[in-house]
Symmetry: C2
């Protein structure tokens, strides 16, 4: 299982030439029901259309039409990088078409691609905000113009199209644009980088998908150029903000702007993999480990500072000022997935599970028509219903917003949901690996022989029962990740009891399709305590249940009681409920302090009640509420 | 003592027409030695010169010369509002001249005023960044241009000159400019306000000092216009940021940009006082009370968010992400002082003392040549020495910076130190009030009779012994504030024991100048616990000694031990040291967690030592260090 493979199939969003685990393509791994099917259906029926409707209405798609007919310099809607939102939507549509092949979506998709393509200039350049008479010159503002960032998202849209079996117009557009970028920024071009990383992993993938070494080489060049102070800093944005402070291979931890940091690190893994650069891969592994140890929220969210959307210092993880941008969580999944493929280590899938279920899924409202941009772990004040047809600032209030002036998150959620099946399973030369749990069909080949696998759940992540059926002619090794939250306990699987080793239960055998393997993951609610170095969380605990972080929402409290006046009674049992837990809490009457510092510690709560804790990702779906994940501990 | 007075003298930076307490002028109250004299001397010999030298070197003063000779549109140094730094320096110089009458400073001052005056345009307008060919039009960017903000600081500079006995060039300049603003923005002018409040208190003071009702009226108009959504918001700055979300008389708490909020509230008190608007005064008192109760750091600092330099929500007071801008602390002193004069309530002086000694004095380095802009209460990482001749961003590292691109704080410190004597004492129709402790001479008249008072300390704030001598022909009432930190204990004063009532010990008598009153304030170190609603501080305590907040600095710890690995042993005695305290601390070896959330709470520290705690305002004067005010509590 640990030998390195050549890629044999398309392989979803990421397809390294060589890796420990081989990703499966959208034809090979399909979600067929359950929790994730519901999310993918919501995406297909609602989120994609929501993004399309908004971007038509506010002119972001119209920018391409006006670029084609020569009027965009007079009338451009939105900020400089709104092109990227259209590209992320195209990527989402391409993955969704690979999954569902809906003919109406296919027409919509082709029409949108043709409008984008019409805006491309004869030399391959394509951006609606730069380069025309009356606009700023091309590449005149690399720090803030986000041109290469937008190109990167176009490349990823083309990769999605290629990996779902089509080599058509968007791929032509991407190829011409990538050739243009190679001339402009390649070995004989200007010695420069983009303020916002993204083109790095995108070029690597486009190079892989098209077998074009120049694109891989340019990805490598962009990675190597970074960290040497090329980008102009400002009063508020330092080189660290741009990840331009330290060369990627020398850095010890993710820092600066969180989304940029995750995208850059993802690109660095791609480059390290393609060029066999073990030092660069080790550097990113080290950065991932140190970021996990001291700069990651319990939800998997990252980025503690509202100021500059940045990582904070080690252990600077305030619940109430968590920025935890949705896109940064998605970037974290992109990075962890690449590291999983490169190393085969289960810890990367552990973080993917945590992040997808908590930090990403919290963003879309249950109806798919509003989103969080930032994801606090502690909402103190009641917000109000958003106006459904108004552009919002970054949603920091207690309710999600339908669309943002910088609206990177909704389209990012859409492309992630459409391609989420790719994170569930991989193959190797002699086996299959299951990384995430859900209702999944796999149809692939291992060592030249066809293999079919069916995984079914009784409602994961709310229920821990998983059954797996494998149909194969030959012996093979099935590896099933046992999540770190499931503890060291032996796992009952296939009628016997097996211990997990390095995060996997491994079964090497000829499988009988009539004898399903049964796995029972222990989902009992558990208390989780923060490291005492996290100032903002000292003296609190959170409750988790299986992979889900739970929270207390004011909606579930007795009337008029806010979440800030309750504490967790230590020692009182956690009782399980269908989706979460209920627990005794102590209630402290809100004091009327005139000065919030006193000569004695505050007394514990004086009355008591029981409250239901629910999954964090579901909060704020029942009207304005206050919420918290970490609860202060009150003595017994 | 509670009757309302007409103003009879000049009266320092603030001189209401009617108030409960009458402020004393710079001739009436003088600091003559001790702690504050040292700070005022540092200001006179170093800080003022430091500001002047920097602003000459980097062209901010030269902007005025270029405005006068017509070249400033081609070459303007610094951001739009650097004029205001020159005006705050002029204000500082004027107060300092009133205090010391140094002839060299007088020449420097007059020269600088004449350079400013030469830039004034025929219609009275005066700003180096707007209105010329090649510059943006006047008043074309009220949100961000800061024109009226700059004018306000010019008016305050003129007020300082008037209140120190001169009606000369800067006053002429201010009068012409204020007349211009009245035409442009008065009852027949444009219906608009400035993004950054400041002109409101400045116009009120200029109106008082020049007995010009139009200026008072315009201050009132600006206050009334605010809070009704006149200012254009941006992606990141809401109406709340601008304090344009709620009319001043309707708001319940300070919010938005902290400096703007404090300046605006100060202006509102001025307007309420002058127009007898009890509703407006009550609104600001309510805002002050609610801000103190839930939005103020132990140091008196305010503003929890780096993002937008804003107040946070209630109880959102993280130590490590404290923004606590120096200028916001100065704004808080300005506001509290106005409320003290208007109400006579000691709580306002309590906050002034706390804020001056901790949140303001921490800004200047001991040598007066570097400053904090933001003032954290918990520094986790070692910084490095600043480059002494480079412009810095807002100093957030562990060492202060000599000058900033936005350098509002150094000149604000300078004008505050030069006029700090004004906060120490007031008069009323039949008495004198002492609000702050230090070595002070008062020479004024009460009820028409001359009164002299001498206050002397043995090193306050490090020592609590205060002696007071009063020389007066008639009986009068002396009120001495007993700080709230001194507790309910009776105070030995004048040979007897008197209890404080409503924050004051009051003595009505004929005073014998040969019988000093002796006051002994209890400075024993004490533990202070945060309200449990402050998430970021739960399970910690701070140590205070008298009016000083203490801190642990890595410089005082055993080698290689960082402040993040120590806890306070509860139950161990606080031993007093000359300037602070020493206390037993528990030491926890830094763990090597891979994931900072676990299934059991962390154990208490395993080894133990004793550490000296020192005044917070003195930290970071001995090289790079880490520091914290609130220490985690470890069990006994």
């Amino acid at each position: 299982m640990t030998d390195t493979l050549d890629a044999t199939t398309a392989g979803g969003p990421v397809s390294p030439s060589r890796s420990v685990f081989r990703p499966l393509g959208s034809e090979e791994a399909r979600i067929v029901g359950g929790f994730w099917a519901h999310k993918q259906d919501l995406n297909a029926t609602t989120i994609i259309d929501h993004c399309l409707t908004w971007m038509e209405r506010i002119g972001w798609i119209g920018n391409f039409d006006r670029a084609a007919d020569g009027t965009v310099a007079d009338h451009h809607d939105g900020i400089e990088f709104v092109d990227s939102e259209v590209y992320k939507l195209l990527e989402a549509m391409a993955w969704e078409l690979g999954r569902s092949n809906n003919s109406e979506l296919d027409r919509t998709y082709r029409s949108l691609v043709s409008r984008v393509a019409a805006a491309q200039e004869p030399d391959g350049y394509l951006h609606t905000s730069f380069g025309r008479e009356g606009q700023r010159p091309r590449f005149s503002d690399l720090e803030w113009g986000h041109e290469l960032y937008c190109f990167g998202h176009l490349f990823q849209a083309a990769v999605a199209r290629l990996r779902t079996g089509h080599d058509d117009l968007i791929v032509d557009v991407a190829r011409r644009l990538a050739d243009h970028v190679y001339i402009e920024f390649g070995p004989n071009g200007r010695d420069a980088i983009c303020g916002h990383p993204e083109i790095e992993p995108a070029l690597a993938e486009l190079g892989r998908a098209l077998s074009e070494p120049r694109y891989l080489e340019l990805a490598r060049i962009f990675i190597e150029r970074r960290g040497r102070g090329r980008l102009k800093t400002t009063l508020f944005q330092s080189s660290e903000y741009f990840l331009d402070d330290i060369p990627v291979r020398d850095a010890n931890v993710l820092r600066g702007h969180a989304v940029r940091a995750e995208y850059l690190a993802a690109g660095a893994v791609d480059v390290a993999t393609e060029f066999g650069d073990a030092e660069l891969l080790d550097a990113v592994k080290r950065q991932w480990t140190n970021t996990l140890a001291a700069r990651t929220y319990l939800t998997g969210g990252v980025g503690s500072h509202h100021q500059n959307e940045e990582f904070g210092s080690d252990f600077e993880l305030p619940a109430d000022r968590a920025y935890a941008e949705t896109c940064a969580a998605i970037g974290s999944v992109m990075l962890s997935w690449r590291l999983l493929l490169a190393t085969g280590e289960a810890k990367y899938s552990d973080l993917i599970e945590r992040t997808l279920l908590n930090a990403v899924l919290v963003s879309p409202r249950e109806d798919g028509k509003a989103f969080y941009y930032t994801n606090t772990l502690h909402q103190r004040t009641l917000g109000s219903e958003p106006v459904e047809d108004e552009l919002s600032e970054r949603a920091e209030a207690s309710l999600r917003a339908p669309w943002f002036e910088v609206s990177c998150c909704p389209t990012n959620v859409a492309r992630t949901l459409a391609s989420v099946a790719s994170y569930f399973a991989t193959a190797s030369s002699d086996g299959l690996q299951l990384h995430q749990f859900g209702d999944l069909d796999v149809a692939t080949s291992v060592n030249g022989s066809p293999v079919r696998l069916q995984m079914r759940t009784l409602g994961y992540p709310f229920d821990g029962h998983v059954s797996i059926t494998v149909e194969a002619d030959d012996e093979l090794e099935l590896s099933v990740r046992i999540p770190s939250w499931a503890g060291d306990a032996a796992i009952t699987i296939g009628g016997g009891t097996l211990a997990a080793e390095d995060g996997y239960v491994r079964l090497r055998r000829r499988f009988d399709p009539n004898e399903p393997l049964l796995l029972d993951l222990p989902l009992a609610p558990r208390l989780t305590y923060p490291d005492p170095r996290i100032d903002a969380l000292r003296g609190t605990a959170a409750v988790e249940r299986g992979p889900l972080v739970l929270c207390v929402e004011s909606t579930d409290l007795p009337a008029a009681l806010q979440v800030d006046s309750v504490s967790l009674r230590t020692g009182s049992p956690l009782r399980e409920t269908p989706d979460g837990a209920s627990v005794s809490i102590a209630i402290t009457e809100p004091g009327s302090a005139v000065w919030p510092y006193g000569s004695s510690p505050s007394a514990d709560g004086r009355s008591e009640t029981t409250v239901e804790l629910r999954p964090y990702f579901q909060w704020a779906n029942r009207g304005p509420s206050t919420m918290r994940v970490f609860l202060p501990l009150a003595g017994e």
